[in-house]
Amino acid sequence: MTEDKESQSKEDDIRIGVYVCHCGLNIAGSVDCAEVAKFAGTLPHVVLAQDNRYTCSDQGQAGIKNDIKEHRLNRVVVASCSPRLHEPTFRKACEEAGLNKYLFEMANIREHCSWVHLYDKEAGTEKAKDLVRMAAAKAALLEPAVEVEVPIIRKALVIGGGVAGIQAALDLADTGYRVFLVEKEPSIGGMMARIDKTFPTMDCSICILAPKMSDAGHHPNVELLTNSEVSEVKGYIGNFRVKVLKKPRYVLKDCSACGECVKVCPVVAPNEFDVGLAIRHAIYTPFAQAVPSTYVIDMNLCLNKDGVIVCDKCIKACERQAVKFEMKPEVAELEVGTIIVATGADVFDPSGLPHYGYGKYPNVITSLEFERLINAGGPSGGHLLRPSDKQIPKRVGFVQCVGSRSDKSGRLYCSNVCCMNTIKDSLLIKEHWPDTEIYVFYVDIRAYGKGFEDLYNRARKAGVVFVRGLPAQIVEDRKTHNVWLIGENTLQKEVYRINVDMAVLSIGLEARKDSEVIQRLLTLSRDQDGFFLEAHPKLRPVDAATGGVFFAGCAESPKDIKDSVTQASAAAARAGILMAKGKVTVEAITPITFAEKCTACGLCVKVCPYNAIILNKDLKRVEIVEAACGGCGTCAAECNFGALTQNHFTDAQITAQIDAVTEHDADRKIVAFCCNWCSYAGADFAGVSRMQYPPNVRIIRTMCSGRVAPKFVERAFARGAGAVLVTGCHLGDCHYINANYQTQKRVERLWKKMEQGGLNKERLQLLWASAAEGERFASKIREMKPMVESVKPEEIGKAKKFFEKALGGS
């Protein structure tokens, strides 16, 4: 298994060790690992090549460490899974053996090879060899690097004041860190404050939340910013500069919440907190337990909205003179080290499903409206009244999976909470009005958590009738306003037609409609359902891919209160780890300048998304501000004079990878450039999901698509590549603010060039794919396959000549 070429490489200093991992059968199932290792042994500079079952295991790592010492390895290549998963593991192992971690390189032969070519071992093995060849070629050119340490500001920002945000803020504050808790609404509390009881214990929701809200409001380490929105985030892990827009309340903190102002306010509107089921005035507090308890004026409604005080009734009524119409919006500038995103979720709007008649029939309500109706603090004082005649309904039907698990609504996922919520609601009705007939129409009842099954059984014992099969239609009886639920009972294979006084649509959760704002501000990714994407679904479930940013609660996926609180504490702990250390090392992927080649043209200064390059006109060169640099490499791609390159992604290293791909059968291959954050992760996702695509693609990883210099594409064509695919994050979603706009410009320029040269510009493709769009990546490769196959040798030759000339000329 081991092949040592000790004698052969005495003349050169570079000594590479290659480890090909079987990953059990994950790789070995569709790649002949022993053969790949044998092949690796024949590559230049490789002095040691072996295959083993689990390279990431303790033994595997110990083996590498041992070999570094014993065989004097000074470069290590591991061919296994995605570097997004285990690069840190192996880098650490190298470091422990005294090898600089930047001398390590990975070949992704699992997500990008074995898992996507499950049924073609021969092609899979060939591809794996190519990937190892590329990694070894790059490894030979790797340079050791020292990481810069930056201090971490020991303050945290929590975005969203629901139960998750409150818990995260309290945990951090109790640990001793200063926390800014930003909430869009006038009060913290979020969705949990609107719910009546919680499952499975039937605790009163606001009774257990209100003390926490109060704690957050009074904690010396927590600064509450309600009625506020994050408007700008700059900086990087440990050193974020955040701007928060504080909308005016028009009421000072002196407010004693006596409510005298409300009595005189002439304007009314539906209270959003009660889903419009109760009335509020222009000056109001959303609910009795609101924190802060200071009232707020809705300026869209107030008679003084045009800036002239025409109505002063509340001013006169206020004993403490707390009403102040002169308040203006303010911008708070915060400096924080970590950010926790706890922005929560929206509920599904069932008006888009006409067969259920929501919005048309008064007695069809949503589960959220039900919560307000059954709540003692709600508009009906806890009497479940049906909207049409305000009578207590005697027959109630619950319809499950409204806006969940359905093609029709466009929400394919399970919303996690609705089954148990309905069971809890049905028991609540039974508790107050035991004679009520209750029907639950379901697809599956998912009672998966601790104590859930018990509650389900209690509901069945209490006489709640569970009918499998959602109604196909809800029809109203015009006289009585009762509704008929018509559908098929799929257990008994018969049609049901059930008349109820009121139907409750158990609506699902969906990503916030304005998630995009936070996504852009923090350069996050979202999954196909619109929720924020975690760095790793199993091992880093609360970390965002952006350093120093963490998730809590429904922002990441639909979850119940317990899970939200658990995740909030986890996020607080993760953020706390960073802040406790007080410093973080920044990856050494900043640009390197060669002053002697620089002409001070200033192009790199213009494309830098971070303004991290300063043009020094006197000395005729540029200077890099390393701490501000994000590490995208766009500057290096822009430089026409070779005066800039990027650490760890140097021109020479990437060119070596291109040359390795195109060493043989280049005309049948696609050279793909993928950015670390979106498209590379998307390709990983395709692997994890076992989406099969043709094995003719070879992926080169850069941090950003902005690093892809035109000369790389030209090089690939000059070497006879069949096609080149440049991929990156969707425009506007770039992890490096806007660097991918440069990618677009460059590719468009190349297309133009190819057209002018009479070349088939289809051979160069551009794809935007997010980290969740594995299928998008896979189908692009499938789509390109016939095109690559149809490229004629003459075309290859023509492109070769054309680009050789272009490269030679520059």
């Binding site: 609404e185 002439p266 889903v275 929206d346």
Partner: protein
């Protein structure tokens, strides 16, 4: 809160909204149109008719929109407008 509101408030009958009766002394008006400009509910607009002072006095567009803030009375230089609560309505 982003939910769309699809049901009427249950307590909408309990809130007694003010019902205003607007009185215009048309011939006192000199047509400055302050009342029209400053009304937060846009209850008034300029009329076609010509009064004793030879100007267009305001006319009432929709009395039910009036919230009785009384600002028109406050700004009128000629004491030509005042608002009272409608008699015989509500009462509680």
């Amino acid at each position: 809160m982003p939910e769309r509101i699809r049901h009427a408030p249950l307590d909408k009958d309990k809130v007694r909204l003010v019902e205003a009766e607007i009185h215009l002394l048309k011939d006192e008006c000199k047509g400055c149109s302050y009342c029209i400009e400053f009304c937060p509910r846009k209850v008034l607009e300029e009329s076609e008719e010509i009064n004793a002072r030879g100007v267009h006095p305001p006319k009432i567009v929709d009395e039910s929109k009036c919230m009785m803030c009384g600002f028109c009375t406050d700004v009128c230089p000629d004491f030509a407008i005042f608002v009272v609560e409608k008699k015989g309505k509500g009462g509680s």
